[in-house]
Amino acid sequence: MKIDYLKELRSYLDLYVIDEEEKLDIISDYTDMYDGWKSQGLNDEETEQKLGKPKAIYRELVVDYKKVPRKSSKTDKYIAISPFVSLIIFFVLGFGFNFWVYSWLAFLLIPITAIILEMSKAKEQHIFTALSPFVATIAYFILGMAYGLWHPGWLVFLLIPIVAILVEVKSIGILNTLVSLSPFAAVIIFFYFGEKELWNPGWLVFLIIPALGVLNEKKIWKILIWEITILGGAVAYYYLNDTLEVWGYSLLAFVPLVVWSLSQSDWQVDGEFNIKYSVITGISLVVYVALGLLLGWWGYAWIVFFAVPIYAINKEAKQARVIAISPFVATSLFMTLGYFFGVWEWAWIAFLIIPVTAIIKES
């Protein structure tokens, strides 16, 4: 879009000491060029390709100008101090209270400080998404170390994609938010039933995903058929499973759903955004279940759900994108080292990736 293109270009020009009139002149020139190519029959994408992305061309425009000096160095000071504060807390908890097992968590203060200060400065809405891995990690260790609830304590990591989706409520709407959240609700409920040895028919809970998803359908009568075949199928399956006690045959209850699905292969989902999120969530879920069933990695494979927030950050965040993604890379590395090699007490070092990334990016 022309407006977005010009806004992005303007944001780059604002990084340099250029007087306002000159900036407006440049923007006006690019408006002319944009209109010029559009009038030659090019679409937005082709026009932007012709002009070059703002990120790629702005250097040519600012060649004679100096960068705007950074106004505040307070942020940098706090980030620089955070490792020392963490170290002090680490030793105080360790030597003072003999909490060595927990005290390394103090080092999480370093990336947390960097994320809060850097992302709040950039007014990134995904600040909560970037912080969620830390909240989840701390909660996970409290549950694990204090209460021995490593399982199902790992479920707190589902908080990360859930937060990423909730941050997007405004842009994707309540219904799409519910659809995107439904797989996580399903996983939690599924494990709850599983703990009670009710894996079957507990898996039926996953049907809430399509049951909510089809509410995007525009025609009411189609929604009704979808809901009848999904929910009716679930009820019939449960009844047959309970009375006949032969689950294989009970699956026949879903034949109407399958037939209807095949006949509706071209049904319209509202919004490209939701389709992409649904696809990513669906693939993550399939990979998670496959790794769980095939390799028994239930307590590790959940990191595949990071694909959802990483996609969200990559698509939505304009600045500090790499910094926002770094917690997920760090958490994945942390979990890999801990889960496969049992070196939890060293694995936290992975979280230092985050401030290092922030520093490199800033430089």
Partner: protein
């Protein structure tokens, strides 16, 4: 072609084209790009610089559709600059031709 060298030549071409008739930015690019490989990101900064140096004046002309167009018009100072640059350019080309073609003075 060396960027700085090309920039100088393009600048001369832009001055010459606008001296013949008032032109708007996209028109300059469109005309010039038929002869020399140039893009918008080269031409617009040149147009802005030449305006800043008072070699060009600008004025807006309203269109039947869309925003008004900014036209560039050469000034007296611009015409002088063009004349001088053209003389320098001819001298330069002659010298290069002599060297390359082995012509005697």
């Amino acid at each position: 072609m060396i960027t700085q060298f090309k920039k100088g030549i393009v600048e001369l071409c832009v001055l010459k084209m606008v001296s013949r008739k008032d032109m708007y930015g996209f028109e300059v690019i469109d005309t010039l790009s038929k002869e020399i490989e140039v893009n918008e990101n080269t031409i617009y900064p040149i147009l802005r610089r030449l305006t800043k140096q008072e070699y060009f004046d600008t004025y807006k002309e309203s269109m039947s559709i869309g925003a008004p167009r900014k036209y560039y018009k050469i000034t007296g100072l611009g015409q002088e600059k063009l004349n001088l640059t053209e003389i320098e350019w001819k001298k330069f080309v002659d010298s290069v031709s002599r060297i390359l073609g082995g012509k005697e003075k």
